[in-house]
């Protein structure tokens, strides 16, 4: 399972944090700090994988955002790259040419999409259309209920 998924900018500002293991606020802050330091320090043209404590860290940069996830020993790192890519595609489809600002101003939507894609540290849905479809239907439900 994946232990966490973090999105942060090149200046180290956190844009999204999803935790799949219970950690205290202090521990979470430590992880965020370590991840941003380690990932931002990586020179270009190095691999996307790191070892940190007992986790495998997989990160990928898309434009101004770093997507960083922590995996267990038995998880497949190359597939994790695909997983990150799929999430970016889902965001892109939903927001239409997604950029960092979309995620800043609509962070709750980014979470909703994530929650239709991953659950409990595992991939929930592998269909590209199903995730977006569910989120949009739920959005409709929200609007219908608004007076």
């Amino acid at each position: 399972m994946i232990h966490f998924l973090l999105l942060f900018s090149r200046q180290g500002k956190l844009r999204l944090q999803k935790w799949f293991t219970p950690l205290s606020e202090l521990e979470k802050k430590k992880v965020i700090r370590d991840m941003t330091l380690m990932v931002l320090a990586r020179p270009p043209r190095t691999s996307n994988f790191l070892q940190w404590r007992d986790l495998k860290i997989v990160y990928k940069r898309y434009a101004s955002l770093y997507f960083c996830t922590g995996l267990e020993e038995k998880d497949n790192e190359l597939l994790a790259l695909e997983m990150i890519h799929r999430y970016v595609e889902l965001l892109d489809k939903y927001f239409g040419n997604v950029c960092e600002l979309d995620i800043i101003f609509n962070f709750e939507k980014a979470y909703f999409i994530l929650d239709e894609f991953l659950m409990g540290g595992e991939i929930l849905e592998t269909s590209k259309f199903a995730v977006g479809g569910s989120v949009e239907e739920a959005d409709t439900l929200q609007e219908v209920q608004e007076p």
């Binding site: 190359l78 597939l79 695909e82």
Partner: protein, 804 residues
């Protein structure tokens, strides 16, 4: 009160802040507004306020006062409220919070809601962060939903079940019935989550694993369909259909096939198919190949398949993509133990990876290189590894140096090569070498008798160049102390002997003592080395002067040494030659790594103990202890226990004389020739005695009380020979009455030189718990003038102080 500002507006405002302080001020203002709004129990804007709070929480500000509000939102009937409420719960209400359990009822209700999206929210929250209690309470609901025909809910229920099982493994059984036809689903989401669920169950329970083995054919079929099926737009990734599902199935197959011949056979074909047909131009294909390789290596696959797998990894190593190379190195490291020969074929590629720019790849390549070193490739590999050591980052140097030492010890083709390799490491990465390597190296050098002159010469030259690397300096000083005589006599055979005088050597050693670069440990080494040279050099006066100067050193360690050496010069000068004799060949320890302490389990006999002769080099021995404790200035008396080569008559537990330091076997008697201890026991006031004096062989006993156990008497025998011929193969044995326990350590040598030219010393430790009068029977055997001599004697004249 005016309506609270919208979320977007808040975000926009906060982003205009130019300093941290400004941002903090805005946040505090808004928090205050939100708090008062919460206090007013305003339903309309609660959702908006919590959303804003969550934004501020992401910026790093505290948001705990919103926890209860999240609960209220969850309980609301409006979907918007629930959406934000559950999001807030997942961010703020993890299981460590007191109010976490208050969610349980709401979640329970929502699991049974009429709207699937509400059910989905509840399942998601439970499945991401539900505590064990919550999982216990709600497992039944999840199990119900696992059986629904609604695939949207079914897939969520499956992953929720996975979480429940992780939190409360005992509940696994209750989900078993619902798994019956999970794999007959067409929906990929359900299929994927079902495979995850099955994997979790199989990993946790061998019974489940056995039960689910029958699913192998079905899994193989599904995988086959994925590969053979045509293009499916919703699942396609660069021409591959649903790689996520493929990888999960491969992972489950790995677990099911491991250790089981039938299952492994059933999946052989599909694995071969995937391995050969998967498109490798993109990362996604390689991800599937990677998982396939892992599966092939783990199950009982036929050898052809295994070779195919290793070759795939070999191809990975040549791939331009760094990620693929990294993954290949990691996998090869896992398989190198089992498929060593196959991995050896890729050795040159692996060694090339040492030059990669990527730190992670370099590290993996280094580990793998060490795993691949063997007797055949040692020279070539070591060249590469030493080159790597020269140029790598400091973070690697310690590990690399240790690896080089280990490999060199195991596979060195010649002693000269071994010493040269060590020299190379010490001179290039000397400061990064681990502290425990120093004693190991010293032992190695001691045992390479014929290389002593060469070694000391090379070390001396290295010292002249550079005294900053402490491990190098310590080994060098020790060697100069031991073999200084070889150094100045210019005896080196291996290379051109250098001309160096006693004064020059002493200059260097004294230089170490005063240099700022030397650590306290190093200073200890050099002082002891200088002292040892007093029996090897003729400039004794100079040495005496140095030693007396340090008698008032601020460093307590140095001061103690100097004072005791001084005493050695003054009062015990007759003992000096014996004490400072050349070290004997030490038993080779089994490992060169950190000292291992092994419990002997009652094999040794206390009553009659045969001493072991100093063994030839290379004889594998028991685990030893850190040899140089004594010269490293360790005041803890390190007393190893002996192991008899043949079991003696009586049985019994070997007494652990040092309490918790239960050491394994080492026959380094010279632990006891700790100079400090020697001087110490001379001052205990127990007079020495002559135990035996016959036919020119005289054996004296000297006494000491061992710390910390006052019931232990430490006796050192000194055997001397006044005849004109040497006594060779000299063996001293001792036996004591049953109320005592005796331990005999290694002798200094087994040749008692003629005409009192030297003594053989050996240490006996006697435990006298009942404080009885000490008696001993000794047996001596030796060869004198060609004939074997054997004698028995009783020793009864022990001074009372030795056993009272």
């Amino acid at each position: 009160m005016p309506a609270p500002i919208r979320l977007r507006e808040l975000i926009r405002t906060i982003r205009t802040a130019r300093t941290q302080a400004e941002e903090r001020e805005m946040i505090q203002k808004e928090c205050a507004a939100i708090r008062s709004s919460f206090r007013e129990e305003d339903n309309t804007y609660r959702c908006r306020n919590v959303a804003k709070l969550l934004y501020m929480h992401m910026l790093g500000y505290p948001a705990h006062f919103g926890q209860l509000e999240c609960l209220k939102l969850i309980a609301s009937q409006k979907f918007t409220d629930k959406r934000i409420g559950y999001l807030g719960a997942m961010l703020l209400l993890d299981e460590r919070q007191d109010v976490h359990l208050l969610m349980t009822n709401c979640i329970k209700n929502d699991l049974n809601h009429s709207t699937q999206y509400v059910q989905g929210l509840a399942l998601c929250t439970l499945g991401c962060m539900g505590s064990s209690e919550m999982c216990r309470d709600l497992a039944g609901e999840v199990e119900k939903l696992l059986k629904t025909s609604n695939s949207y809910l079914r897939k969520k229920a499956a992953l929720c079940a996975v979480h429940v099982i992780r939190k409360v493994p005992e509940l696994m059984e209750m989900f078993l019935p619902a798994t019956k036809n999970l794999l007959s689903e067409k929906n990929h989401g359900v299929l994927h989550t079902s495979v995850v669920l099955l994997t979790e169950m199989c990993e946790r329970s061998p019974d489940m694993l056995a039960h689910f083995r029958k699913l192998v054919p079905q899994l193989v079929r599904i995988l086959k369909n994925l590969i053979m099926s045509g293009y499916s737009p919703e699942h396609d990734v660069s021409g591959i259909s649903d790689p996520f599902l493929q990888v999960r199935i491969l992972r489950l197959l790995r677990i099911l096939g491991k250790g089981d011949d039938d299952s492994s056979e059933a999946m052989n074909d599909i694995l071969a198919q995937v391995a050969t047909n998967t498109e490798t131009s993109k990362n996604v294909g390689n991800a599937i190949l990677y998982e396939t390789v892992l599966t092939i290596m783990d199950i009982k696959s036929e050898s052809g398949l295994r070779v195919l797998a290793i070759n795939i990894l070999g191809r990975f190593l040549l791939n331009n993509d760094k990620n693929i190379r990294y993954v290949a190195l990691t996998s090869l490291l896992k398989t190198v133990q089992t498929d060593h020969n196959a991995v050896q074929r890729h050795r040159s590629t692996i060694v090339d990876c040492l030059k990669d720019l990527d730190v992670s790849i370099k590290r993996r390549a280094m580990e793998l290189s060490f795993a691949l070193v063997n007797g055949n490739n040692i020279r070539g590999m070591m060249k590469e590894l030493l080159y790597f050591l020269d140029s790598c980052d400091p973070e690697f140097k310690a590990d690399c140096a240790s690896g080089v030492f280990l490999a060199a010890e195991k596979y060195a083709p010649s002693k000269r090569w071994h010493i040269d390799t060590i020299m190379r490491v010490l001179t290039t990465a000397g400061s990064y070498v681990r502290d425990d390597s120093v004693p190991n190296l010293i032992q190695l050098i001691t045992n390479s008798v014929e290389m002593h002159a060469y070694t000391v010469q090379r070390l001396y030259k290295a010292l002249l160049d550079d005294i900053s690397q402490q491990p190098l300096v310590q080994v060098a000083s020790w060697c100069i102390g031991e073999y200084g005589d070889l150094l100045i006599s210019g005896q080196c055979e291996e290379e051109e002997p250098i001309q160096v005088t006693e004064d020059e050597v002493l200059d260097v050693l004294e230089g170490l003592l005063v240099s700022n670069l030397s650590s306290p440990v190093t200073r200890g080494y050099s002082l002891t080395a200088i002292m040892k040279l007093s029996t090897r050099f003729s400039s004794v006066n100079r040495i005496k002067k140095v030693v007396s100067i340090y008698g008032s050193s601020i460093d307590v360690e140095l001061q103690q040494r100097a004072v005791e050496y001084n005493a050695l010069f003054k009062k015990y000068d007759h003992m000096r030659p014996a004490l400072l004799e050349r070290m004997p060949i030490m038993e080779k320890t089994a490992s060169n790594g950190p000292t291992e302490i092994v419990q002997t389990n009652g094999e040794a006999e206390p009553s009659v103990v045969e001493p072991k002769h100093p063994p030839p080099v290379g004889q594998p021995a028991s685990q030893g202890n850190d040899l140089l404790d004594l010269l490293g200035g360790n005041d803890v008396p390190v007393i190893p226990t002996t192991m008899p080569t043949k079991p003696a008559s009586a049985g019994g537990e070997l007494l652990d004389l040092l309490g918790d330091l239960s050491l394994g076997l080492s026959l380094m008697a010279f632990y006891l020739f700790d100079l400090f201890k020697t001087v110490n026991f001379l001052s205990t006031g127990i007079p020495p005695m002559t135990a035996y004096n016959k036919n020119g062989l005289k054996i004296d006993f000297t006494f000491e009380r061992a710390n910390p156990n006052p019931n232990v008497a430490v006796i050192t025998i000194h055997a001397s020979n006044s005849t004109e011929a040497d006594m060779t193969d000299f063996v001293f044995q001792a036996a004591v009455p049953k109320t005592f326990q005796l331990q005999l350590l290694s002798p200094s040598s087994n040749v008692v030189p003629a005409l009192n030219q030297g003594t053989v010393t050996q240490v006996i430790r006697v435990l006298n718990q009942q404080k009885q009068q000490l008696r001993m029977r000794i047996k001596l055997t030796y060869i004198h003038k060609g004939s074997a001599v054997q004698d028995l004697a009783e020793v009864n004249n022990f001074p009372p102080q030795s056993w009272q």
